[in-house]
Amino acid sequence: MSSTTPTTQTDQIPPHLDPQTYPRTTTNPTLNTHITLTYHPLDPTSALTKISSPNAGANVLFLGTTRNSFEDRPVAQLSYTAYPPLALKTLSKIAEDAVTKHELLGVVIGHRLGDVPIGESSIVIAVSAGHRGAAWRAGEEVLELCKEKAEIWKKEVFVDGQGEWRANRDRDAEGKLVQG
């Protein structure tokens, strides 16, 4: 075997599952949108700094944190996987569309991957606008679109050791089961 032959290992762990290839970011300087996928803890202060502007009268910050239960079953840990070629593209479009639609001054979307301990943030969304109405509306809309479209998957590992992949389309914003 020559040393240039790709190893089997390379085939088994594609780059998108290798934390060494992160963080991955996409920025649109014109629309002031910032997308990040990272295996490290999310930093809300840094998110707010990116969208701060003297023209902004309203800055909305949302942190989605991992909950310790699912349907009364205790959850030990959550783990996220992403497919960045699609996820970064999808998240960028959500952010850019929101800027245009709500006349925002900036949008940050950050998602953490890998194991996320209970109580820590898995997603950060920050939006800024001239006035609070647009900022509140855009913040919620961006979050819901992320949950609907971003190519990221959550696995809940229960205390009994069983793991289950979730699908957001099964639950609404109040956590209630959506009838198919």
């Binding site: 992403a82 998602h111 949950k147 998957w153 957001n168």
Partner: protein, 95 residues
């Protein structure tokens, strides 16, 4: 490009698709007409079509593709070429 990449494409599996195949990624022989992708996977992983793939999207490169398009309506049949990157995309769950 290695010789492997001249004759195969890479396919990535996520979430339920990864659980069902027991793999995160693998290489399959190329070229392969896109409408034959699900039957190819079904022959390797019996039951996957109904249990998993029926609720999944498929991407080729960084675009979603219609695996059912057989070329009878408009346009030509898409063919997965050697070196291409395909992904099976189950219902998502970010946030």
């Amino acid at each position: 490009m290695s010789s492997k990449e001249n004759t195969t494409f890479q396919i990535h599996y996520f979430a339920s698709a990864s659980t069902y195949t027991g793999k995160q990624t693998e290489r399959l022989p190329a070229p392969l007409p896109l409408p034959r992708l699900f039957d190819t996977l079904e022959s390797m992983y019996p039951g996957i079509k109904e249990k998993v793939l029926s609720s999944c999207g498929v991407s080729l490169g960084d675009e979603y593709v219609d695996v059912e398009a057989d070329g009878e309506g408009d346009g030509e049949v898409v063919v997965i070429k050697p070196g291409d990157e395909v992904a099976v995309i189950p219902p998502v769950s970010s946030g």
